[in-house]
């Protein structure tokens, strides 16, 4: 009896202790993560702005969104950005497999490949904007090797700008996923690939038939993170192109930012972010289902 009581008391104190330690963290999340989500739902049905009163406007913001050609263009660009997901994942997997070998200098290469990850988007954008400008190094190399016959202003050409941003995101991101895959590869027994090699399996076969299936948990997690950050992409277009030329690099996040912080149209911005959240949710579910089926 006494023991039971003690145990009960212990459970109670453990519960109390758990909530007390979690309190600061939960409070911050409640205010800065959950409150924005909850509050943006009613906000999306109003015309709230910094000036004037707030009025309930019903579905007006949502109707406006789907006939807003800028927003449609932005959504299209954000979704086009998802193309980089399989590319980033394949490259970073290949890097991880290449740098998982026992050879001299492998650690140096890991650090070098990871380098773009640790630098800020601002720094990266400044460097690439110089390299990619019409008088920049990239054009000089391409002209010098006769790959191009005339200069291209990569970032101010509406045919190339978005693809260039996608390239920069890929270049900056591969190192990040590479480290996650490297960590995953540590749990793949070396005998497995050894045995396959004795059976005369090619490196490509080993890569696709053994290593990728073994790394499935990591592949799922990385694809999911990568899809979410691709649709949400903001930094690169914000610093490098401001959405231009025209609307060619306007992304959904950038458009929401413009509506919220340049036009102070908070109600409309909230409606747009709800739409974007639903799209992200849809894509995440798709990645999850696709991987489960496979």
């Amino acid at each position: 009896m006494e023991k039971m009581k003690n145990k009960k008391k212990h459970v109670k104190s453990e519960t109390a202790y758990a909530w007390v330690t979690m309190l600061p963290g939960l409070l911050i999340l409640a205010v800065f993560v959950f409150w924005p989500l909850i509050y943006s739902i009613p906000l999306a049905f109003t015309d709230y702005s910094v000036v004037g009163d707030m009025h309930f406007v019903g579905m007006k913001n949502f109707r406006k969104a789907f006939s807003d050609s800028d927003f449609i263009a932005a959504l299209k660009n954000s979704i086009q950005y998802v193309i980089i997901v399989p590319i980033i994942q394949l490259i970073s997997l290949a890097f991880a497999v290449a740098l998982n070998q026992k050879m001299r200098g492998v650690k140096v290469f890991r650090t070098l490949f990871y380098f773009p990850v640790i630098t800020s988007t601002v720094a990266v954008s400044i460097v690439w904007s110089w390299l990619l400008s019409s008088g920049g190094l990239i054009n000089k190399i391409l002209l010098g090797t006769n790959i191009l016959s005339e200069k291209i202003s990569w970032l101010s050409n509406d045919q190339t700008a978005l693809w260039v941003l996608m390239f920069i995101t890929t270049w900056k991101g591969v190192g990040y996923y590479m480290v996650i895959y490297l960590a995953g590869l540590q749990s793949v027994p070396g005998e497995l690939t050894e045995a396959a090699r004795i059976d005369r399996a090619s490196s490509i076969q080993i890569f696709f038939k053994i290593l990728i299936p073994m790394l499935k948990p990591q592949v799922v997690m990385c694809s999911l993170m990568s899809v979410m950050s691709a649709i949400k992409v903001f930094d690169e277009p914000f610093v490098l192109t401001k959405g231009g030329p025209g609307n060619s690099t306007l992304t959904a996040s950038l458009y929401i930012y413009q509506k919220g912080f340049q036009n102070f149209d908070f109600g409309y911005a909230a409606a747009l972010s709800l739409i974007l959240s639903v799209i992200i949710l849809f894509f995440s579910l798709f990645v999850n289902l696709y991987n489960r089926k496979k």
């Binding site: 979690m22 800065f32 490949f113 640790i118 800020s120 601002v122 000089k140 979410m228 914000f238 709800l274």
Partner: protein, 272 residues
């Protein structure tokens, strides 16, 4: 012979990739050390005597770079400390303690990761203004003083610790608080290193939120100042290049420091 060719070939490819990954930064470093050259004049006509650090002294003298560095150190330092502490404190009960609603709470927290951060920014800006902490460092730091990503990482790390550790601590009559700080925390050092590195990178490199919260540009951290510098002094490539190089060095330093624990920490976070 065949093996040797294969090895040389592998190294050749790795070196080529390295050039693509790090080349732009080496070029940046070179440009920053060559005053009076235009970045578009590459390949530079380099002589030994043309190297100088005058671009670096320039940004300190004319742009008050020291001030921006101090702001960034303050913001990133506070953010890293708070994240390491609060993420651990929030994650530990979620991993190891028994209480009602634990699984639901964790699911709710994780599902919030889909919210686009620009969306939250609008409402967070209103909150910060209501709290009266706009244009202050606190306003910059508070919203990211704990991130879901860090809570998730720490929880994974705690899950890998056997329950017997906590039981043995209890047997010795240690309090929960003591068990946490002197028994559990030392065991999750690699994951803590990952949290420190990622959070340091995130807050050191963040420019958007500080620019929204801070009205006074004198309070700007480096990345925000750099965007400003790039606009105002676009003609002075040398200064912008020097400023950019300076902004990269601290993250590089922290990365080299935590690198050895890094892969361990990431693999710990991905188990289970």
């Amino acid at each position: 012979m065949n093996r040797k060719i294969k090895k040389t070939f592998t190294y050749l490819i790795l070196i080529c990739i390295s050039v693509i990954m790090v080349g732009p930064f080496l070029w940046l470093l070179l440009s920053s050390l060559l005053p009076n050259t235009n970045v578009y004049d590459f390949p530079y006509n380099v002589k030994l005597q043309s190297f100088s650090i005058s671009n670096f002294t320039g940004v300190f003298e004319f742009v008050d770079f020291g001030n921006y560095i101090w702001n960034t150190v303050l913001i990133s330092g506070a953010s890293v400390f708070l994240n390491a502490l609060i993420a651990s404190m929030t994650a530990y009960p979620l991993a190891k303690l028994n209480f009602k609603g634990k699984d639901i709470l964790f699911t709710i927290i994780i599902s919030a990761m889909i919210i686009p951060s620009t969306a939250a920014m609008v409402v967070n800006y209103l909150t910060i203004t209501k709290l009266g902490i706009s244009d202050s460092y606190l306003g910059v730091i508070l919203p990211t003083s704990v991130t879901i990503f860090n809570i998730f990482n720490m929880r994974q790390a705690f899950l890998n610790i056997p329950d017997s550790i906590r039981e043995s601590g209890r047997m010795d009559g240690a309090s929960e608080l003591r068990i946490f700080f002197s028994l559990i925390m030392p065991m999750v050092k690699p994951s803590l290193a990952v949290v420190v590195l990622f959070q340091f990178m995130a807050s050191w490199n963040d420019f958007l939120w500080p620019m929204i919260v801070l009205n006074s540009t004198s309070k700007y951290p480096l990345s925000a100042a750099l965007t400003m510098l790039n606009g105002q002094f676009a003609y002075n490539f040398g200064w912008v290049a020097a400023g950019t190089v300076l902004s990269i060095l601290p993250t590089l330093f922290i990365f080299v420091l935590t690198q050895d624990m890094f892969v361990d920490g990431v693999s710990g976070a991905n188990k289970g």
